[in-house]
Symmetry: C2
Subunit: 466 residues, 2 copies
C-alpha cells in the first residue's frame, strides 16, 4: 500500500493496477443505479479531486459510504485504474473507504457543493479554503511567493526581514497603527499631561511599519542586492475593494542601479512570476479562466511576451490631454495620475504594460532622486492592463546635501533620520528599488475583484478570525 497525494495519483507516473491509498475530503458523491457510488475526493494538493469508485460490496457501503456528504474526511484504498469517465485520466477502484471525520449536521455545513457568493465565503474564512476557488487562489498565491524567493535567489539577492515594529514612518505619510503595552485604563502621564511613552514597552512611541525600504537600503549599501518580503500596514479607513490594512510587500533594493536598471529588473521580475504561474499552476488558472476571469491566462501570456513601453510622466500627461478622452479627474502637469488615467495609458494607448517615469518632485516621496531638471524625480510606476499600477519604484537620493533639502521641504526632522543620512555619508552609491504589493499581484493573477479574497483570512470587523 502506497499513500500518495491526489496530485501524484493523477500525474500518470504510478503503475495502473497498483494499490494506492489517498486521504482527503469528499467533494461530491453520486450513487449509480448499477449499485455503486462515485466519490470525488480532494486533498488540496492540486485542483482536481480524484474519483473513487465504491462498489456495493464494501462492508460499510450501506452504513457509511452512502451517507457520505461534502466535507467528510476519508481514507480510500484501492486499485489505480484508467478512468472511463470524462475529465479524468485515472480513478481508484476502492477496496476500502474509511470515514475518518463526519460532517455534523450536513444540512447546515456552510460549504455545500454549489456556488457561494464571495461575500458569504468571507464570513466563513476558516472554511473557504475547501472551495474550488480558494483552493486555487491559495495554490497560486503560494506559487507566486515561491517564485518571488526563487527569482531573487537566482539573481543573488539576499532576503532581509526589516522591523515590523518601528518608530519611523518610511513614507512621511500614511496613517499608522500604534503598538503598545500601556494599560489604557491607567495611562502613565508625564509632567506636561501627555502620555509618557517612556513607560511603554520600548521606551518610546512605536508603530507598525508601512514599508521596509529605508531599513533595507542600509543592507543594500553593504550587500549590493537585497529584498524584503514581509507584512506592512496602513491604518487607512479606505473601505474599498482595493485596500487592505495588512498586506505583504516585496521590496528589492539594488546598489549601483539607476532608474533604467530598476525598470529592467521590475519587468524581468514580473514576467518571471507570471511564467511560474503559467507553468506550474495551469490547473488552477484553467479554473480561474473558466469561472472568474475569461482572459486570465491570455492576459498573463500577453504580459510575459510583450516588451514594456517606457514613457515619461510629462509625455503621459501630454498624451492624456491629447487623447480626446473624457476623464473624471483633471489631467495637468503636476497632478498625480489617477487610476482612470493609468488604465487609459496601458489599456487603450499602449495596449501592454507601461513604465511611467520621472514624476513631478512634489507628488513623490522625499527619498526619490531629484533629476537634473530640478522639477522631477527618478520615480517609476509600472502600469498593466486590467489593474493599473502594479509596481512603484525609484532611484534613491544618494546625495546627502540634496536629501537634506528634500527632507526640509517635506518637514521631516533630520535628527529622526540620522541613521538614514549616515549611509549617505559613508560610501554612498547610486541605488534604486521598487515595491510590489503582493496581494495586488494575487488579485491580478486570479482575476479577483476584491482584494480581501487575495488573503488567507479576510481582515475586517466581525470576520471569522477575529
Amino acid at each position: 500500500m502506497t499513500t500518495v497525494s491526489v496530485e501524484h495519483a493523477l500525474a500518470g507516473k504510478l503503475p495502473v493496477g497498483g494499490e494506492v491509498t489517498v486521504r482527503g475530503w469528499v467533494r461530491t458523491r453520486r450513487d449509480s443505479k448499477a449499485g455503486l457510488s462515485f466519490v470525488n475526493v480532494s486533498d488540496g494538493s492540486c485542483f482536481a479531486p480524484i474519483q473513487v469508485v465504491a462498489p456495493a460490496s464494501l462492508s460499510n457501503y450501506e452504513s457509511e459510504v452512502k451517507r457520505l456528504t461534502a466535507g467528510c474526511a476519508v481514507v480510500c484504498t484501492g486499485t489505480l485504474a484508467q478512468s472511463q469517465g470524462q475529465g479524468q485520466a485515472f480513478e481508484i477502484q476502492a477496496e476500502s473507504i474509511e470515514v475518518v471525520g463526519w460532517v455534523d449536521d450536513p444540512e447546515t455545513y456552510p460549504i455545500q457543493p454549489k456556488a457561494h457568493s464571495l461575500e458569504f465565503l468571507r464570513e466563513v474564512a476558516h472554511l473557504r479554503p475547501r472551495t474550488n476557488l480558494f483552493g486555487a487562489v491559495t495554490r497560486i498565491r503560494d506559487c507566486l511567493a515561491k517564485a518571488v524567493h526563487r527569482y531573487f535567489h537566482e539573481q543573488s539577492y539576499f532576503w532581509i526581514s526589516t522591523p515590523i515594529i518601528t518608530t519611523s514612518d518610511a513614507e512621511g505619510a500614511g496613517q499608522m497603527f500604534r503598538v503598545s503595552t500601556l494599560d489604557l485604563a491607567n495611562l502613565p502621564l508625564g509632567e506636561d499631561g501627555a502620555v509618557d511613552f517612556g513607560q511603554d514597552f520600548f521606551g518610546k512611541e512605536t508603530f507598525l511599519t508601512v514599508s521596509g525600504q529605508l531599513n533595507v537600503e542600509a543592507y543594500c549599501l553593504a550587500l549590493s542586492r537585497v529584498y524584503t518580503f514581509g507584512p506592512t500596514f496602513r491604518a487607512e479607513h479606505s473601505n474599498t475593494s482595493r485596500h487592505l490594512a495588512e498586506f505583504w510587500m516585496v521590496e528589492p533594493e539594488i546598489a549601483f542601479a539607476d532608474l533604467a536598471e530598476d525598470a529592467r529588473v521590475a519587468e524581468e521580475f514580473l514576467k518571471y512570476l507570471f511564467r511560474a504561474v503559467l507553468h506550474e499552476r495551469g490547473d488552477d488558472m484553467a479554473f480561474i479562466a473558466q469561472r472568474v476571469q475569461p482572459d486570465a491566462i491570455a492576459r498573463l501570456e500577453a504580459f510575459v511576451n510583450a516588451p514594456f513601453e517606457r514613457i515619461s510622466y510629462t509625455e503621459a500627461v501630454a498624451l492624456l490631454q491629447r487623447s480626446g478622452q473624457k476623464f473624471e479627474f483633471p489631467v495637468e502637469w503636476g497632478l498625480d495620475l489617477q487610476t482612470e488615467h493609468e488604465r487609459w495609458l496601458t489599456e487603450v494607448h499602449v495596449g501592454r504594460p507601461v513604465v511611467v517615469t520621472d514624476y513631478p518632485e512634489h507628488i513623490k516621496a522625499f527619498y526619490m532622486r531629484l533629476n537634473d531638471d530640478g522639477r522631477t524625480v527618478a520615480a517609476m510606476d509600472v502600469l498593466a492592463p486590467g489593474i493599473g499600477e502594479i509596481i512603484g519604484g525609484s532611484q534613491r537620493e544618494e546625495r546627502l546635501d540634496v536629501l537634506d533639502k528634500r527632507m526640509a521641504q517635506f518637514g521631516l526632522d533630520p535628527a529622526h533620520y540620522q541613521w538614514y543620512r549616515d549611509f549617505r555619508r559613508y560610501g554612498t552609491v547610486p541605488h534604486a528599488g521598487f515595491g510590489l504589493g503582493f496581494e495586488r499581484l494575487v488579485v491580478y493573477t486570479c482575476g479577483l475583484a476584491n482584494i480581501r479574497d487575495a488573503i488567507p483570512y479576510p481582515r475586517a470587523p466581525g470576520h471569522a478570525e477575529f
Copy 2:
C-alpha cells in the same frame, strides 16, 4: 567590459586575462613600497573581498586611490589575473578605479577594519552589515530562509500568511502587544467607563499575533500540507539574550499525521536546512568557525549525520533523576523541563538531538492531543546539543468533545473559538505540526550568543532603527 559580482569574479569561471568591472566598498588598502596599492573590495555577494591591484600609473593614484579608506565606494575595472598573494585565487590588475562615494571623516567612521564588540555594533545596526560577521550572518540567514521555502516546496506544502493583527491569543498565554488607532489623549469610553473598542480601527480589541497555528490548521484541513513563515510577537519583558519581542516563526501543519510523523518531518526538515548551509555557505561558515564558534561546522555535520533519539518525557524525568547530576531546578514528574535538563539530555546523556515526547497535559497548550493515559498529551520538543529546545510541536486535539473539555480546563471561552471548533465538526482528521523560531535557528547555526545578533535590526529601546 563585463560588470560582475565579486563572487562571480572569484568563482574561477571567467577567462583570466579578460577585462572585468567590480563595484563595491573598500575593506582595506595597503600601499606597497614598490609604488602600488592593494585595495580589498567587497560587494557582499560572498564572504571574500577581491584584491584590486592599483598601479601608480592610474591617473587618480595620488589624488584619490591613496586616500581610500574603509567604506569608500568604488568601481574598479581591470584585467582578471591569477593572484600571487595568499588566500585568493584571482585578483584584478586595475586599469581604473572610480571613487563613487567617499567616507566623511574617516576617523569617526564606525566600521573600522578591526574587531568591534557586538554591543557596539548593535548601536550602529544600520552599518553593521558592512562587517565580516554580519555579512556572513545575513547570507546564512538568507540561505536558511530560502531552504525553508524550498524544503516545503519539494514536499508539496503551501505557504499561508496568517493574520498578524488578531483578536485571538493562540497560546492562551503570552503577553501581547495591543494594536490600535485610538487617540490616547482622548480615549472613547463606554457607558461602563471602560475603553470603547467598538470605536477602534477594527471595531474590537486587537493584538499582534503570537502564532499562526490555529489559523493555519484551517488550511491544513483543506489543503493537507501547509506552513506559515512570518513574524510573531511576544510582549514579555524577559530582557535576556534568548528572547525577542518580534521574531519569525516557521509553522508547518500536516493532515493525517500523528506525533511520530510530526517528529519524522521535524528531523528531516532540520537536516535539510543545515545541509543547505553546509553546501551553500561554506565561505561564511568557515569564518564563523574561525572567529565565533570553533565547532560550528562540525556540530552541523554531526547534526545532519546523526539519527535523532526519541524518548518520552516520563523516561526523561527518570533519566534525569538517576543522573546523579546536580541541577538548579527540581526534576519531578509534572514539572516542565528546564534548559539545564534539556541540555543534559541532549549533550551529556545522548550526545545527539533528542525528541522528547508525551508531556504532562497540564504543562502544555489546550490544543494538544490528549493521550489515552489521560495524563499526557502528544507533544514533542526537539532538543539539540549546544542550544536545547529548537522545535516544539504536537499532534492536535481533533476530537471536539475532548477539545471542549480541555478548553474548559484552561478557562477558555468556547464562543471565542467557535471557528476553531468548527473544523473539528466538519471532516476532522488527525493532524500535527510544529513551530521553529527562525532566529533561534540562526543563533545556533552562526554560533551567536545573543539573539539580537540574529536579526537584521536589533530591536531594543534607543537602538538605531527606532
